[in-house]
């Protein structure tokens, strides 16, 4: 029998569709009857959506400029106009 503890332990597997189908069926049945587990999985989903939008930290400006300079040096030949 599937308990809430099992849903919490394998929640990401259920959301990621990596559970075998009998287990998925068990989860779906449990979720149809358990509001707490539905909320919990919804919160895992929301967490992953939030994580996808966490802003990247700033790159130190001097480092960014140095790497861009390296990029530009390497890219210079590709920017040369074609010979007529």
């Amino acid at each position: 029998m599937l308990f809430c503890r099992h849903v919490a332990q394998r929640g990401s597997d259920y959301l990621g569709r990596t559970l075998p189908w009998p287990a998925r069926l068990g989860f779906a049945l449990h979720l149809s009857m358990c509001r707490n587990c539905r909320r919990f999985l919804q919160q895992i989903r929301q967490t992953t959506r939030l994580l996808a939008n966490v802003p990247s930290a700033t790159v130190p400006p001097t480092l960014e400029d140095a790497l861009v300079a390296a990029f530009n040096r390497h890219a210079a030949p590709s920017r040369l106009p074609r010979a007529q």
Binding site: G16, R39, L50, A52, V59, L67, F71, A75
Partner: protein
């Protein structure tokens, strides 16, 4: 004058990567800046799982970018740009970590992780049901969250505090949008272990958000009202250049 960072819609499909690589090969500086800004800090966080400290991780990432710049013309699969960048990063990080004679390497954590329970047993009764109701996150509208600096800082602090292995998997899967199998391959762990690490990391972040919304008894974390969380607008990079 530093160019403004362009905001692109989320585009993780391979076609986006091919166009991106085309622009990079054509010497498009702004595209390179965007790529750098998009991935740099996360690459440092991932590298820190393999090396002794942040300074070393930053060196490894710089070396990675230089290798990326040099290797772009010969990249055989433009569709796999992000995976290629992280492959370079992780190879360099592992070699640096080995040179520094770190006793703990990423793979050493696998068995320990498997032995630990995924969830806190105190959350459940002896029968396995929730010991307390799961409180709803009614305030957590994703669009409002985008403008919540306090939430971002809190979440970032939790991510930074995760064990290195969990942080690396979380960054790759939920922030860089790698597949589980790709993340497992890049990190040199089994897919089963990758799933366990990812779930534990997600639970830690979920718990932190729950604490922020509902309070967890921590005097530094009184139950904040939703309008307080979302009171400070912040510029957000949404999606990817890829």
């Amino acid at each position: 004058m530093r160019p403004r960072l362009e905001i692109h819609e989320a585009n993780h499909d391979a076609g986006g990567s091919e166009a991106l690589v085309g622009r990079l090969r054509a010497g498009d500086e702004l595209t390179f800046r965007n790529l750098l800004r998009r991935h740099h800090s996360r690459m440092v966080s991932v590298a820190m799982a393999f090396v002794a400290n942040r300074a070393t991780a930053e060196e490894v990432v710089q070396e990675t970018w230089l290798a990326v710049i040099e290797g772009l013309p010969a990249l055989e699969e433009p569709r796999a740009l992000r995976s290629w960048i992280y492959s370079i990063l992780l190879n360099k990080a592992r070699r640096r970590g080995a040179r520094e004679s770190r006793i703990r390497v990423f793979s050493d954590f696998a068995e320990a992780d498997d032995a630990e329970p995924t969830t806190d047993p105190d959350l459940f009764t002896g029968r396995g049901s929730w010991a307390a109701p799961v409180a709803a996150w009614n305030e957590l509208d994703p669009e409002r969250v985008v403008s919540g600096r306090q939430l971002w800082k809190h979440v970032q602090a939790v991510i930074d505090g995760l064990p290195g292995r969990q942080r690396a998997v979380l960054l790759l899967c939920d922030m860089e949008q790698s597949s589980g199998s790709e993340a497992a391959r890049l990190l040199g762990v089994s897919e089963a272990n990758q799933r366990v690490l990812l779930h534990r990391a997600r639970l830690a972040v979920r718990q932190a958000i729950d604490g922020l919304l509902h309070g967890n008894g921590d005097p530094q974390c009184d139950p904040p009202r939703a309008e307080k969380i979302f009171s400070e607008p912040v510029t957000v990079t949404i999606g990817s250049d890829e």
